[in-house]
């Protein structure tokens, strides 16, 4: 990384925090002196006080990510790591709290950062850490009643083969077999010992409805209304996939909203720990499947941060960074166009805006496909650069009756795309929508999230910036070549749906501005290497340590938390998904609005299920 924050500076942030906290809490806080690690280890008994002090006195008001690590065989404890940042910008601070594996209890930090809510539930669900004082400590990704906590290192799934890839059975004696042939049920299931169906009562759904006060409850008011509980989703045209909400309505007004997720929980973290570092790259494509290239970016930044700790590491070349930014910004435009289209779809404009967005999307995807090989799952970034340089010609060949050939000059295509086509598309979106009553009537003043709420709930991306917080990782904690580029951070003040829409339009315009500079840089760096060091290494050496790499994804801050034990595979691999954490504030935004507004508010957050559930 050319523009990575020097480690010295990070250390000093930790140092200054340590000196202040030591004064106040004596021995409850100590420095984490494991090699490759940074941050403070806090005594669980004092965690809440320390966290409050860190927030109020040190100004670390933004909880970016909270995740648990299972150090089985390396201390035999569970560790909860909180990555904290200041909304004014600058490097972050990592707080840690450790707890033995068998008791596994920590105090909840929801009272300090409400944004910890879902993340602590996730840690409980997958790691089995009980958070005392959490308002609603239920499983979040798996269902209530599931056996075990799957991310613990000693938990094995039904198709378990080996701890780490590559599996020995593939080569040299790789006689093909299907995993289901080795499982008694053939269905990827494993039951606790002696489990039988006799007398078994499933509890998966009970928890949602127990507290919802099911039953008719007529309230005295002008208009007699019933309290009803509606389950929206997981199969619902406006939930953007398989998301589910259980809403308690008073008449038509939302009283309570419980998001239910996990319908697309495909075990990204667990599979990621089995994969080698490189093998995770194509899996990150499938997180936020609109923005595979910027997901690649985030993962590359995180692992490169770790690799920079070791010797013999060369940062990506300048051309590689230019290509990366080109891809990331094109992705941002693509994502925002489609996100606006989907939001209007939810508002009742049906498919019209979306169809226009998809036309532009197809043209950008043509470029992605010609450069990376795939429309959506690009798998293009490598540690130290990108997989291939831009081709001189976007060239297709006729074969298999695919006779309709297209041929473009790559740079010419990019120039036209960036200078003409995309600005025109953004103007058209603006024309069609910004003053359109379909949008304005349903969005102004709806789903308001105030500045304080947005920060407290760890909202990120356009949701945060629409609430008046000019926080953009590209500026606040710069990576890649963003410091060299001129652009402004789009920000609006009202925090409602309309402002989120406007922030997206502004961001697209800023992206075009960045892309124009990138075009110039692409011309200047023509012919330079796109990869640093030696290519063709499929098992790069990653030194032991821990890194939290973050990038500004179109949907918000995408963070990759990677722990390496020096081997070929990550020891812990966790994704801070903006869609997931932005939903923490969903209930706050929806309360008091009508049920028809819920889908609009959800549309304005712009979630993607692949990333939400991972």
């Amino acid at each position: 990384m050319t523009e990575q924050v020097p480690t010295v500076e990070t250390a000093s942030a930790t140092d200054s925090a340590l000196s202040l906290l030591e004064e106040k809490f004596k021995n409850a806080v100590r420095r984490d002196d494991r090699e490759g690690y940074d941050g403070l280890i806090v005594d669980p008994a004092k965690l809440v006080e320390v966290a409050a002090a860190v927030r109020d006195e040190l100004g670390y008001d933004y909880l970016a990510s909270a995740q648990a690590v299972d150090y089985l065989g390396a201390g035999d404890h569970l560790e909860m790591v909180y990555n904290l940042y200041r909304t004014t910008g600058g490097p972050g601070l990592a707080l840690r709290a450790q707890t033995p594996r068998d008791t596994a209890t920590l105090p909840s930090l929801v009272s300090v950062w409400p944004g910890a809510d879902f993340q602590e539930r996730e840690a409980w669900d997958l790691m089995g850490i009980r958070f005392e004082g959490h308002p609603n400590l239920q499983r979040i990704l798996m269902w209530e009643g599931f056996h075990g906590h799957p991310l613990r290192k000693d938990w094995k799934e039904a198709y378990y083969e080996q701890d780490q890839k590559p599996f020995d059975s593939r080569w040299p004696d790789g006689n093909v077999w299907r995993s289901e042939e080795h499982n008694a049920y053939g269905k990827n299931v494993v039951y606790p010992e002696g489990f039988t169906l006799d007398g078994y009562e499933p509890v998966a759904e009970d928890a949602f409805y127990d507290e919802a006060n099911l039953g008719v409850d007529i309230r005295p008011s002008d208009l007699d209304t019933d309290r009803i509980v509606v389950s929206l989703g997981p199969q619902h045209p406006s939930t953007h996939g398989v998301f589910r909400m259980i809403v308690t309505l008073n008449g038509e007004t939302i009283e309570r909203l419980q998001p239910v997720m996990g319908y697309l929980h495909r075990n990204h973290d667990k599979i990621g720990e089995r994969n080698t570092f490189l093998q995770n790259m194509p899996f990150t494509d499938r997180l936020d499947y609109f923005c595979s290239l910027s997901n690649n970016f985030g993962y590359a930044v995180a692992v490169e941060k770790l690799m920079a700790l070791g010797k013999r590491w060369e940062p990506p070349t300048y051309r590689a960074e230019v290509i990366r930014v080109l891809m990331a910004e094109l992705t941002r435009i693509l994502n925002h166009l489609v996100a606006i289209g989907f939001m209007l779809n939810d508002m009742g404009a049906y498919f019209t805006p979306l169809m226009y967005a998809i036309v532009e999307r197809e043209l950008i995807l043509d470029f992605f496909e010609a450069v990376t090989g795939s429309r959506m799952m690009c798998n293009y970034f490598r540690f130290g650069g990108v997989a291939m340089d831009l081709p001189a010609q976007m060239h297709s060949t006729a074969n298999l009756l695919n006779e309709r050939v297209r041929e473009f000059d790559t740079m010419q295509y990019l120039r036209e795309l960036i200078n003409e086509r995309l600005p025109r598309a953004i103007d058209q979106t603006d024309d069609l929508l910004t003053t359109n009553e379909i949008l304005t009537n349903r969005s102004i003043g709806v789903g308001v999230l105030t500045r304080e709420q947005a920060i407290a709930h760890s909202a990120a991306g356009p949701v945060l910036r629409a609430s008046g917080v000019p926080y953009d990782v590209r500026r606040a904690d710069p990576y890649s070549i963003y410091p060299d580029l001129e652009f402004d951070v789009a920000v609006r003040d009202h925090g409602d749906i309309y402002d989120r829409y406007l922030v997206r339009v502004d961001e697209m315009r800023e992206s075009v501005r960045i892309l124009k500079q990138v075009l110039r840089l692409l011309g200047e760096t023509e012919g330079q290497p796109f990869f640093s060091g030696r290519g063709g290494i499929y098992s790069p050496r990653v030194p032991a340590g821990e890194a939290y790499g973050r990038v500004e994804n179109p949907k918000g801050e995408l963070g990759f938390f990677v722990v390496s034990d020096g081997g070929q595979n990550p020891w812990r691999y966790h994704v801070r998904a903006p869609s997931f954490i932005n939903l923490t504030a969903l209930e706050t935004m929806c309360k008091g609005h009508k049920v028809a507004d819920v889908v609009t508010i959800l549309g304005s957050i712009d979630i993607v299920l692949g990333e939400l559930d991972r």
Binding site: D173, Q279, T397
Partner: protein
């Protein structure tokens, strides 16, 4: 004015509607536009409707397009080693494959029992394959490549979806036909159109002759 926004919005839609017909006039109301005009319609200058009439006209795939992998074998009319595998069963693809969908049985000489550089069996489970292209990227012999054939829909997965060596193998000239530029680049890096091992062998012989 109330309603002006909607009118403006409708204006945008009308523009697209008119553009579609202007586009039709431009191509003389032909259902399939001529080949040389195709890039214009499917490129950045497209206006109005730009539908590809799929079964009748198919978008040709970009050279770098990747779908299911295939194995490169020597052309059947190759003078020295017709139909031989380029694969040496070194196992790098199986090791680098993220979802581990490649199974390889290393070839053994039936008499000596020593490994020979050709796989005895090669399987890819396309129900697992994620089309990521890492196998092709890291293959040192250019022996596994990503195919462009996407028309694989079937009625039965148990019999049709584990590709064996025979199903996977395609002639070298097929690779040349779907990705001419890349085939050339690779040949340049390899030092000739032949298999790496053959080139090495030739270099050795040439050296021996010199001596």
């Amino acid at each position: 004015m109330y309603g002006s926004g909607i009118l403006r919005g409708l204006g945008v839609t009308l523009k697209h509607f008119v553009n579609t017909y202007l586009d039709d006039i431009r191509w003389g109301f032909r259902r399939h536009i001529p080949d040389e005009a195709f890039p214009i319609r499917q490129g950045l200058d497209t206006r109005g409707v730009f539908t590809v009439e799929y079964p009748d006209e198919k978008l040709a795939m970009w050279e770098r397009f990747r779908f299911i992998p295939f194995l490169v074998i020597e052309n059947h009319d190759h003078p020295e080693r017709p139909g031989h595998d380029w694969c040496t069963s070194c196992g790098i693809c199986a090791k680098v494959c993220p979802p581990q969908c490649i199974w390889i049985v290393r070839g053994n000489d039936p008499e000596t029992g020593r490994p020979v550089p050709e796989p005895q069996a090669f399987y890819i489970d396309i129900d697992i394959c994620m089309n990521c292209g890492l196998c092709a990227e890291f293959c040192p012999f250019d022996a596994i490549k990503m195919d462009h054939d996407y028309e694989l829909a079937s009625y039965d997965r148990t019999s049709a979806h584990i590709f064996d060596k025979q199903r996977l193998s395609k002639e070298f000239r097929y690779w040349q036909s779907i990705a001419p530029t890349r085939a050339e680049e690779e040949a340049e890096a390899r030092g000739g159109w032949e298999h790496k091992d053959v080139l090495k062998q030739k270099a050795k012989e040439a050296k021996a002759k010199e001596n």
